[in-house]
Subunit: 362 residues, 2 copies
């Protein structure tokens, strides 16, 4: 249910190209989703050393049996102490330089490891490995598609709860339960149900506030299927109160639609962000759009590419990403509209299924 | 429901003692639970700079309003780009050396920040700040106690599900739902329900396997209340099959009880680990006890002190920790018995409430 191991061997072949291009002798990986992507290992701790001709997956005693079952074509080595275990493997080969993911290693590990490795050089990589994961293969897309179906079905099942008198937390708990009952192994992240003034906080946690007539209710949620995430946000109006809410919704929806229309292989990510942002600026709410337009989704709920004003990536067919413009009027209310899409050669396919038309729940 | 802000000011006073002792000018904190502990801010991203006389909480646009509501006596500063924001604050004071949590900063941030800071020295700290959190105050203990009550009530509510034919995942989903219905804002970690041969994997994920007669079923679970975690593991026998299972249970229970009896202020953590380990070694199952004996619990489910063979900490009154010996017979079954306890001047109080006597569910 939770994994399809082992990983396709062509992924490791692409890593060897990176090793060659960077002119290093080996790679040390610590990011558990990168390790899962390359080996199929689904444990929560470990390290992967990729040498010129062989790979070693290092795990602690909790995971030795599981690792041997999940991975193929990769030596499994058990360590007592992680940094010592990594150092032993690296010193065992006749290596002079080893690349590592600089965002996945903490400074404590780095300084300790450096000391143990003597003359061996540690070369910080930036996003080379994460970038490998940006374009999904068919199996990955199937997992993400299923995750999005599960989450949509679950939201449909709890929709009747979104009404005056029901507390945010009760909706979140029921939504999470419904996602898991439909096969989600986890939820993608702590579900957001933010009503009234809480909806003006983009990352509000669901609380004991009961929904009231006139509220905007933002629900940001997702399901995990076989390790792959979905991510979607719906904003509902409960009762109807303020013309400004509908106007803001309409503006955010236009930004969302324009951005989606622009998506296709070959377009820079910054361009998608620019289109969404410009729409909202023209509508005079630019200063209330306080976050990026979107992000890639896969084994991590936030991964490459980032759809922001300083992203350097270009969209490619097979990328899965969110488009999620929003505006947040402090202390009053907010609107966010988020779909998760699959980039195609021409255009895109929307994977998240809940209607994004302005909806007033009575 | 989810936080009690702001944090007690004496915590910041203890940090200033550390700054003084380490002979540095300021501290840069990135660990979000350390930041929560010191300021009351509950957001998921940010940084805290503690200077000689003032503190600055740095957050991105998503969290500015929330931060201003949650913290007191601390300047809130919004950044567009995190490393630039941190560098600007640090360069603004006339500082020469800044301490930072070396386990909470990744190498990418470290190298970028170093470059931007010019002559300013970054001093890696080890566990000084985390160690501050090891001894809990009364309010923290009340939160942890409540988390343990919630989880116990939830397990009691789902106990009838632990029987032949019910799938691991269905028990996990129902248990999580029951914890949250009782007020858990989250579960402490992905709940483990491991039956049959799966119970031989200490960190198995619940799957589609249905429980069978003769299984050992390990349930490792916890609730979060006001940011504070609980952690407890029960192992049940379903039906009765193998005398060896009961013997192993009895051995692990003895190790657990002996360790608990030894707990009091002044005892080194290594001693608690040694006592549990020795029991299991005498019973000839030592090689199947493949993990540490326990860990502190608080804002993180794993925090100081570690109860392992290389821990350097001494137990103090007010620490909250787990004692969780286990044995795992590969491909057959496992047993783990975990209680969470509050260390007292003499002895300890067990906070987790489910009976740990050998229980056969029919």
């Amino acid at each position: 249910m939770h994994h399809d191991s082992p990983a396709p061997p062509e992924r490791m072949a692409r890593v060897r190209v990176i090793i060659h291009e960077l002119d290093i002798d080996a790679l040390l990986l610590l990011d558990m989703n990168n390790i899962r992507y390359l080996t199929g290992f689904t444990g929560s701790d470990g390290a992967l050393v990729i040498g010129e001709n062989e790979e070693t997956l290092l795990v602690d005693g909790r995971y030795t049996n599981q690792a041997r079952k999940e991975v193929e074509g990769c030596h499994v080595s058990e360590y007592k102490e992680k940094i010592d275990g990594i150092a032993a493997i690296l010193l065992d080969g006749s290596l002079t330089s080893v690349g590592f993911e600089s965002q996945a290693m903490n400074v404590n590990t780095y300084l300790n490891l450096k000391e143990k490795l003597g003359g061996l050089t540690l070369n910080p990589l930036s996003n080379e490995i994460a970038a490998l994961r940006a374009v999904k293969d068919e199996k990955e897309i199937a997992h993400i598609r299923r995750a999005a179906e599960i989450s949509c079905e679950a939201l449909t099942a709890v929709r009747d709860l979104i009404k005056p008198g029901v507390r945010e937390t009760d909706i979140a708990i029921e939504l999470d339960f419904q996602m898991r009952r439909r096969g989600a192994e986890q939820v993608s992240f702590p579900t957001i149900v933010a009503s009234g003034a809480n909806s003006a906080q983009p990352h509000a946690q669901p609380g004991l506030r009961a929904i009231k007539n006139g509220d905007m209710v933002i629900i940001d949620y997702g399901a995990v299927h076989c390790g792959y995430h979905s991510d979607e946000t719906c904003t509902f109006a409960v009762g109807y109160k303020d013309k400004k809410q509908e106007e803001a919704y309409s503006l955010v929806k236009t930004a969302h639609d324009r951005a989606l229309e622009a998506v296709k292989a070959g377009i820079p990510c910054v361009e998608i962000d620019r289109i969404a942002r410009e729409c909202i600026e023209i509508g005079k709410l630019g200063k209330y759009f306080t976050h990026g337009t979107g992000h890639g989704v896969g084994l991590d709920v936030h991964e490459a590419p980032r759809i922001t004003s300083n992203s350097e990536m270009i969209l490619e067919a097979g990328m899965v990403l969110t488009v999620e413009p929003g505006v947040y009027i402090p202390d009053l209310w907010g609107v966010r509209i988020e779909d998760m899409i699959l980039v195609k050669g021409e255009g895109c396919e929307v994977l998240t299924r809940v209607s994004k038309n302005f909806t007033v729940l009575q």
